[in-house]
Symmetry: C2
Subunit: 197 residues, 2 copies
């Protein structure tokens, strides 16, 4: 693989997360041998997205406009704000059709070891927004990982100090699962967070 | 993720082998949030490679020229031809610095279930080339998978019928490994292919 354009392609593919030397080489082979149309399509999509996509000035999610469609929608309940880590998490919450409020997308999570602090996830903006306007409740929907929990804790404390109602997604047994196969920590959390019937 | 350019990017990334919906979405997020320069670099590399890279008219490997640098080199031994499946396999053999002949790159392997027959891996061209000129020995270096072995068998029989000397890479115990941890099939093959000292 000494051809310069092949080597450049393999190196560029390695900038994708989770792609090492072997995968990059396999991807380059596949595109050039079996799917040049896919290669050109991906090239155009990358260029287009890198140029068009920016952040919503209100909720920070990816959008092609100044303010995203969700933030603009007159149908959303402006009294509730759901805080998520990424647009993919936002999409997951949207798919449930169980939430009709607005979002704030951190575009990351607090991660001191990686040098990601409050500024990098736009917390000042979130706090400004939470205290202005008709907002009543903030639902923390960061992931249930160590970093996601720490991020929820920091945001939750700050918002409670500002007098806001703050909630967190319930931890518990996933729908459709059998207790026998659920890990202990999850069952313990489900006991703590149990609901009165 | 309802933004059209984001959706187009995620769909285009899914054309890469081994990339599903989740990985594509994670890749798009990473590029747009943390590495737009990488996105543009990958776009250019894809366009460039899709336009520049073609197949060597002699050995079928990827090249930007009519005939690749290896086939053109006056330093290579034209009496030996090594048959491999892909340019990555060719690169692996080259790295050993134990082979100084020429190559024929099948750009695939026989795979009747996937509809890949002798024509798709250029066997007519290989047979023409094997019987013209100074060639004395063909070394079959296809992979030691079921399909790679079958491909080696078909090519080997055809070349022997044409009066050529045909060899196959030795199967055996990998260098540096302890027998205790080597699988039975490999040890059995190493016994069959044992070398006299
Ligand atoms: Zn928005
Ligand atoms: Zn060549």
């Amino acid at each position: 693989m000494a051809e310069p354009s092949l080597q450049a392609l393999t190196e560029a593919l390695r900038r994708l997360p989770g792609v090492g030397q072997k995968s990059a080489s396999r991807m380059a082979f596949h595109l050039l041998q079996h799917d040049r149309e896919g290669a050109r399509l991906l090239a155009r999509a990358l260029e287009q997205a890198a140029t068009q996509v920016r952040h919503c000035s209100l909720c920070h999610t990816f959008t092609e406009d100044e303010v995203c469609a969700t933030c603009r929608s007159p149908q959303r309940d402006r009294a509730k704000l759901c805080v998520v880590e990424t647009p993919a998490d936002q999409a997951a919450v949207e798919r449930t059709q169980a939430f009709n409020g607005l979002y704030f997308v951190l575009m990351g999570k607090l991660s001191p070891l990686d040098g990601i602090g409050p500024k990098d996830i736009g917390l000042a903006k979130l706090f400004d927004r939470a205290t202005a306007g008709e907002l009543q409740e903030v639902i923390l929907a960061t992931n249930f990982t160590a970093e996601g929990e720490a991020t929820a804790h920091v945001i939750g404390e700050a918002l409670k100090q500002r007098g806001l109602k703050v909630s967190r997604l319930a931890r518990g047994v996933p729908a459709g699962s059998e207790l026998e196969y659920v890990d202990l920590g999850t069952i313990a959390h489900a006991l703590v967070d149990r609901r009165m019937k």
